[in-house]
Symmetry: C2
């Protein structure tokens, strides 16, 4: 079974916990719609890759950790798209949850997905019961206040923002949790694995900023130009486009360099390289540079 199949199977299993014919149906439908079909599932992929590199001696727990992280990511997308934030009508190429199910169900789906993430951990059936508390703490810290993804979103409500604090909380924290939790699920040391998640999370955020400027809606599956539209901090705005691309390349190299010596080293390097190519494809970017040049010429 591929890792992606393993992740989707764990997520389907998680959804069963939230399902009943006796419960309200719209909420359940919207929760499923928020999680399936997924994107690249990069966070749970990373979590399971690190768990594998550390021996993965308790797959029930690493599956639960990977699912919990993806559920929390999906919850954050649902709430970020709400009218009071991005008011995004599109996500992954189809109507966002609030566009499809209304704002009330979107708020509640996000809430229920957060709860489900922790329920999945509580129900993992792990045989390594002493790992559960620290693992849950890692994941909770990466989502809540003061430094998790919710705090990252809350930086957008502050008058003064340090770009790096904002990006690290909004995106980096969950990547860091993915590597740390993958290690913890396999009984390994979380701290050794945090730098990989940290660098990769920063790379991912820079890539997102670049894509927001360069890509069009069809390529993104969601509206482009949102950082400028919402006056959000962005490395593409701060560093210029070529500066941002250079920064992205540096961060990918730092990610790769941070991978500790281990049995899964080669597999992890390959995963990071493949993911960076998916995020900012060399070919696509050459095209995009032409597009920008064309736009500039036609505007002048």
């Amino acid at each position: 079974m591929s890792t992606l199949d393993r992740i989707n199977q764990s997520l389907e299993k998680a959804m069963i916990l939230a399902h009943s014919k006796q419960g309200p149906q719209l909420l359940q439908e919207a929760m499923h719609y928020s999680v399936f079909p997924g994107g690249a599932r990069i966070r749970p992929q990373l979590c399971l890759a690190v768990a594998a590199a550390c021996g993965d001696d308790d797959p029930a727990l690493s599956n639960a950790a990977a699912s919990a992280i993806e559920l929390l990511h999906c919850a954050s997308l649902v709430h970020d798209d709400l009218p009071c934030f991005d008011n995004a009508q599109l996500r992954r190429g189809r109507p966002s949850v609030h566009a499809a199910y209304g704002e009330r169900i979107a708020v509640l789906s996000g809430d229920a997905l957060i709860v489900l993430a922790f329920q999945v951990l509580a129900n993992s059936g792990t045989r390594s019961i002493f790992r559960l508390g620290p693992l849950m703490n890692t994941i909770a810290m990466s989502v809540g206040s003061p430094h998790g993804i919710v705090a990252g979103q809350a930086w957008e409500c502050e008058s003064k923002v340090v770009l790096r604090d904002y990006q690290r909380a909004k995106t980096g924290s969950l990547f860091e949790a993915a590597t740390a939790a993958g290690a913890q699920a396999a009984g390994a040391d979380a701290a050794t694995w945090r730098p990989l998640g940290e660098w990769l999370g920063e790379a991912y955020q820079v890539a997102d900023d670049i894509r927001d400027v360069v890509a069009d809606q069809t390529e993104l599956g969601k509206p482009a130009g949102q950082d400028v539209a919402h006056d959000r901090p962005s490395s593409a705005k701060d560093l210029g486009l070529s500066g941002a691309v250079q920064r992205f390349d540096e961060l990918v190299q730092k990610s790769i360099a941070s991978i500790p010596h281990c049995k899964g080293e080669k597999m992890l390097r390959a995963l990071v390289t493949q993911e960076s190519e998916r995020l900012v494809p060399s070919d696509w970017f050459k095209d995009a540079k032409r597009k920008i040049l064309f736009r500039q010429t036609s505007h002048s």
Copy 2:
């Protein structure tokens, strides 16, 4: 130390986990504002009372359970008050969170409080590590889909609602979790204690419906007449006022009768009686009856 002091102290300790000068400040302020000063803290009181009745041999865990339940209750109030739901400007006699901090911070505070609830459990420092998973599961189930308080709120988006399913999810579930988790935190059997929470939760919901019809804004600390305004299911509408009061009294009696024989039996009976008097005071209700009569007379 009184139980209420113990609860508030645990909650203050919990807030420290969400606090940092390096994190976004509005979110942290709004989270604190959502939790302090509290109401009667009836759910954590109930949780700790049951834990005490069962020996409370691991106070670190019962404190964490009680705090988690109250944090989840506070989160639900913040989200229920949002413009897309009740659009309530008042809560506990002062501006609701979205009225005070804006809608975005209100959404994020609710999210962060849900996360914090599970973080508190992960950080309890319990010495009874085998109790953690089942306890977390009890609490998660009482909040999420298909039968927790979020599902209860989601029933308001369905076209067909069974009043009892709605009330049991929206209010009963967290009361049931309070008694079950109190027992589990002390190593006792959850099932024995569920009926107390279930009856009391139903009583509380009926009381809320009665108060919504009878009380005025000053007494409630929030706008009155919301069930009618939002066309929500309500036992006061379904059974009439006197029918609802009779139902309330029956449910209080059932709650008391369900208390298992134990060392804390007397204390628990006293707590239930005191709480029912607080909810629907005999005197206040006589007054309220006069008020209704007066309204009817003056409208005719």
